[in-house]
């Protein structure tokens, strides 16, 4: 058994830190983990991806096509570019804010990301679309999206780690002065992820280990109640 996570985006978006945190969390859990970065000449605005593979029977450093359980895309077109790696029924978290190719003003492609999101919505059942700018607004910079999105993944139960495990690895990995804001980013992400839970009922078979905590369960029940009352209210006004 293995759990494969592919992170992808554009050079400079911070996918590497996110993959490091995932690997460190897996190690903290005493799990075997391998990863690989594909960078090439890409630091200058090219596509980048990190392959994180958790589990014993993993040999290839890169995730084979159609084998990723989770795709975390920092950019809509990069999600589509890497969709081949996702296995049937795999989950996708995607940031809906597009990054234009750096050559856009010279050779316009007309790209805007919306078409990519539309396609993903049609094709992927377990899809979480997030907006990095809105998500990171309380933090003052979208730079923290790389850590916030891990929170989204955990909150939506795409990751089997304990919240504390990830927080510990954040504290150990990032520079001291950024620990606090990164943990906050992670928490904000987690809230958003949790609120997505009702959409992901089919999810439980993707998630290897982790049980919901009491607190999370209560939150979800509360959310479901809210949704229920909202529906009822709508029903009442219609009548």
């Amino acid at each position: 058994m293995s759990y494969n996570i592919l992170l992808c985006g554009v050079g400079g978006q911070g996918t590497v830190l996110a993959s490091k945190l995932l690997a460190a969390s897996a190690m903290e859990n005493n799990e075997t983990v391998h990863s690989a970065e594909t960078i090439g000449m890409a630091q200058r605005g090219g596509p980048v991806s990190s392959h994180v593979r958790i589990g014993e029977d993993v040999y290839s450093p890169l995730i084979p096509k159609h084998s990723a359980d989770l795709l975390i895309a920092f950019e809509p077109s990069e999600a589509v570019r890497n969709l081949d790696f996702l296995k049937d029924g795999g989950a996708v978290i995607v940031n809906e804010i597009p990054m234009m190719p750096v050559t856009e003003s010279l050779q316009p492609t007309g790209y805007n990301g919306r078409e990519m999101i539309r396609f993903l919505k049609q094709k992927i059942q377990k899809l979480a679309v997030v907006n990095a700018d809105e998500l990171c607004a309380p933090l003052g910079s979208s730079k923290f999206f790389n850590v916030a999105v891990l929170g989204v993944a955990l909150g939506a139960r795409f990751l089997h780690f304990e919240e504390e495990t990830v927080k510990n690895t954040i504290a150990k990995t990032v520079k001291e002065k950024f620990v606090e804001s990164n943990i906050k980013a992670f928490e904000i992400g987690k809230e958003v992820g949790l609120s997505m839970k009702p959409d992901f009922d089919a999810l439980d078979n993707v998630v290897p280990k982790r049980e919901m905590t009491e607190e999370e369960r209560n939150k979800i029940i509360a959310l479901e109640e809210q949704i229920q009352t909202a529906k009822e209210r709508r029903y009442e006004t219609k009548q």
Binding site: A36, I39, K65, V80, T103, L106, M116, K123
Partner: protein, 620 residues
Amino acid sequence: MKTEYMMGNSAIALGAIAAGVNVACGYPGTPSSEIIDTIAKHNTNKAIHVEWSVNEKSAMEVVAGASYAGARCLVTMKMMGLNVASDALMSLAYVGVEGGVVIVSADDPGPISSQTEQDTRLFAKYCRIPVFDPSSVEEAYKMIQDAFDYSEKYKTPVLFRPTTRIDHAYAAVTYDETATPKEIPGFVKNSKRFVIFPRLSRMNHEMIEKRNPEIGEDFSSYKCNSFTGKEGNKKAVIAGGVSYAYAKEYLQDRDDVTLIHVATPHPLPETFLLNALKGIEEVLAVEELFPYLEEEVLLLSGKHKLNLSVYGKHTGHMPTAGENTAEGVAEAIGLFLGERKPEDPGKKAFEGVVDKIKDRLSGNEEVMMEEPKAPMRAPVLCAGCPHRASFYAVKSAMKGKKANFSGDIGCYTLGNAMPLDMVDTCLCMGAGITMAQGLHWTDEECVNFAFVGDSTFFASGMTGVANAVYNQADLIVCVLDNSTTAMTGHQPHPGTGITMMGDVANAISIEAVLKALGVKKVLTVNPLDLKAATEAIEECAAESGVKAIIFKSPCIAITKATEKCVISDRCISCKKCIREIGCPAISVVDEKVIIDPNLCTGCGLCTQICPVAAIEKEVR
């Protein structure tokens, strides 16, 4: 012992430290560069001599000397560096070593960031020396230590060849953090051994050819050469390097197919292979780059009259170029085992049409949307890169004149992209300066420019300048001096004066070197001052002989920007700034030309181009 999650290159570095390495030399080259960086980082007590040598040949020779004195030595480079080092290595293979010498030559199947798809295993065979081929990060840590042992046991330099997917993969490795360099016995003079003469070469050649089968025999019991599968199997897969990992990923723990892992491709572990291939009728060679194992097995099969069919690149069963992938290998093995059928594109297209018709008939109007194409993201010079300014200055100064632009290896190869389009040739390290001379001798009317980076200049540009001065060629050498080796991750070089031992040595002045080589006109300009740069170029173009311009401005990655530029409402949207220089910080949003404040470094190049002076500098 300490366990850390690390990159393959770090595992190689820490393995060398665990083996007691005394001297580590290298020249930066993707994907090998992090090895020397890691050794330097762990060398806190300076017990190991670590250096970025000026090029791979120098590194190889420094190591040869240290090894004669009994030191354990590591040399690192990418595989094309091995071409440069081969002059020294070829002879060292004949002379042999005293202290263990391991040469890491990182291959780059794809190629992902290289000019060739050459294969270090073949080089080992050509040099008649052993080569180790790790298949994982964990294995690399152990194998490099074995490589030192074999090197000392047989008194020969040995090659160690990881590929990009090993160098840049990560895994948890438990390493010995208390290892110390070994005692160096000291140089014992012995000219009969250390001075290469034809007689010595002849004698040693014979010795080497006799010794290699013995090493092959020794390798037959080397633990990393292994095979799995039950007796009576008729089919086998033979693989090495990361391709073994791909094969294993597909076959996992199956025993109905024999999976052979060759960790030491040269000298071939014949006994091991004959044993592994016992009863096998068909074998598929899964490897990247050269069909090395495939040919070796063919040879072996001929030599021992095996009843064996060998499949691989020569038979069209494996791709002949590019890197392998897990799914590509799975496909090839699946076909070989008869478990998969070749894909029929016609059938697939037909099924697609059938599906669509079915949708229509069932009244299912929502037809699936076609997959939108993700936009191309071509690499470009960073916003604020000083190379952009240098290229632009030469381009504008030469407008309407006949000129050739010979490029070289480094970030500045990206000067070929539109709209700059300023790289007409690029061949190998340092070749721009010499190729410009060749172009000059075919058309003496044309102005020839050679662009060379500062690190490349020291690595192999200086001899080209001497050649030009001596043979009275006519060219303008443009040294793009950004004070670092940017492309490979910002390593220092002789021009920076910073060494890997943490000292600040005497920085070598490129200007003084050029003058000493007899270049009569050497100008130094800041490329970000467009007017001064253009004038310097025009001044050089007006004279004959060898001239040089040093465009001096640091890479943006090693400095902190203090300014940024903004476009005021004087802008007439003529888009000249975009059309002329292609800085990625400038773009059009809602019909307005804007500068991304996060990307802009305030280099000021665009301000000098705008016809209405609409772009202004601001403090960050």
